[in-house]
Symmetry: C2
Amino acid sequence: MGGTKNKAVYLKSYPAGLPGPSHFETRVVETPAPRDGEMLMRTVWMSVDPYMRGRMRPDVKSYVPPFSLDQPLDGGAVSEVVESNNSGFKKGDYVVAFQGGWKEYWISNGDGLTRVDPGLAPLSAYLGVLGMPGLTAWAGLTQILQPNPGDTVFVSGAAGAVGSVVCQLAKIKGARVIASAGSKEKCDWLLKEGGADVALNYRDYKNAGALTKALAEAAPDGINCYFENVGGMHLEAALNNIAFGARIALCGMISVYNNTELEPGPPNLAFLIARSAKMQGFIVSIYLHLAMQFASEVAPLLAQGKIKFRESVYDGLDEAPNAFIGLFHGENFGKAVIRVGPDRA
Amino acid sequence: MGGTKNKAVYLKSYPAGLPGPSHFETRVVETPAPRDGEMLMRTVWMSVDPYMRGRMRPDVKSYVPPFSLDQPLDGGAVSEVVESNNSGFKKGDYVVAFQGGWKEYWISNGDGLTRVDPGLAPLSAYLGVLGMPGLTAWAGLTQILQPNPGDTVFVSGAAGAVGSVVCQLAKIKGARVIASAGSKEKCDWLLKEGGADVALNYRDYKNAGALTKALAEAAPDGINCYFENVGGMHLEAALNNIAFGARIALCGMISVYNNTELEPGPPNLAFLIARSAKMQGFIVSIYLHLAMQFASEVAPLLAQGKIKFRESVYDGLDEAPNAFIGLFHGENFGKAVIRVGPDRA
């Protein structure tokens, strides 16, 4: 049996600074026929996530190995089993995995696949609110920030795939939520649907001093919890406003991912001492063992409409580089997903 | 009954930058006679501590109120009860308190005094290894860093009142200890008596890059715990070397206490994310409820000679400003204490 001709996106060169279209190239590849125990998978939805930028630095030791040049990129995807020589899965099954992204077809031996239920939520949700971003949000909130009812929770990147879930879960847990996002449209959504009590458009604040003042007005008793997706002036302004005993979950610092030189950190870290506050970094993989607990808490909230989610949908594999590049320009609203092939679920 | 003529040190002006002798003035004062329920206290030993610098900034909200100009300074001291109209204490009792420093005599109503046993340890030890610095070291280590046997613990300011206790307790708990201090003499003591496996004289390293390299050689598997007393290049170098799941206890940042402008923080905070590491600031007062547990663990170790301590002793109240100023020049080796009056215990 012959292979399947299809498309995959290759990394042509490592970006220095912001990634652009020239760093990527779509090529036609031949996916081999599945052997014994293997399956031919069709990628339906793929994810682009900020952490992928870290895999585009050959020189930096990170928690995932760097991508190789002149090889197809990889990443999280929801795929359909098209042909199965594996007794664990049958044709027509849908699975989510940390594999399958950036290509139309791929071969799996079944390792690392989680079957998903198209009846519970749209397939793409398994890349967002019910997937890695949702687990990231839930784990940072429940394992690190642990807000008490009445606490003030500040969330940066609040309209993003992670931040929007943090805001809504924090609100459900009885916290007062201050959200920061990069447009009026995002702020409006956060106030109306996203669980925010206050929404700040950070583009209105030219530096950390201005944002510090806005936060002080929004949180006169200080910030008890800060979910950090952004870095830079957000972290400095948040530190200026932390309450005694505050917790900061460091999830991402998208503002610095494309810097070619390291930029200085906040000058006010010593506030952590005076306010006996904690700052804890995390990657979602350390909480994978809690995935079932996460799903059993969040899936019903989603089904009941108590958690809303937004997606920026890109159509076709050729759009994947643009979706990824958009992450660093604030162009996506909610989870950025690419419909690689027809979703018939 | 008349008052007692004696001396007290006044704050003449708030230092901008490093404190110097001109910011202080010794004046003769009259301490009134104790009234009903009060006692006349004689200060035997007083403490100077880095946190006092924070009380010399009228404009900065800190965890203790600022000192007033043209008033006597105050701070921790061991005092003798000279005259008692308080049924809780009798003449000849020795007490430690967050009061009594910077003066020869003072009046107490008994609040905030802890009786100390001159038979258990020298009186001055209640300002150091058995006092607030000792509790600070023990709490940061046991409540935040929680080293496992075999972990690598890095301690900056390691020859100081806090750091030297951290090193020895960490060693007793089975950790491998890397100490940083500011002279060969201090490093020699740390290796011989202070529990250090490796001692780095930070003056040999001209920047964070050089210190990063030295730490990488000393801790090839990374640093699991970092006890931070210093800030600046120490924090940056430590972050470059943290192991996955590392804990950082932020106790002090003496390198920045005298800055008139905030200096940038470390550029590599994002390592906290990739290595799922925690940085927790604390002030010792949040652990005061553990003081008995601390004393019951550390006092026997001291009595058995398993914990050693060093003191820089200054003689006479007039020397107190010099002792304080010395804190910021690395001039003290171990706890800086001032013998204000004769120690007859």
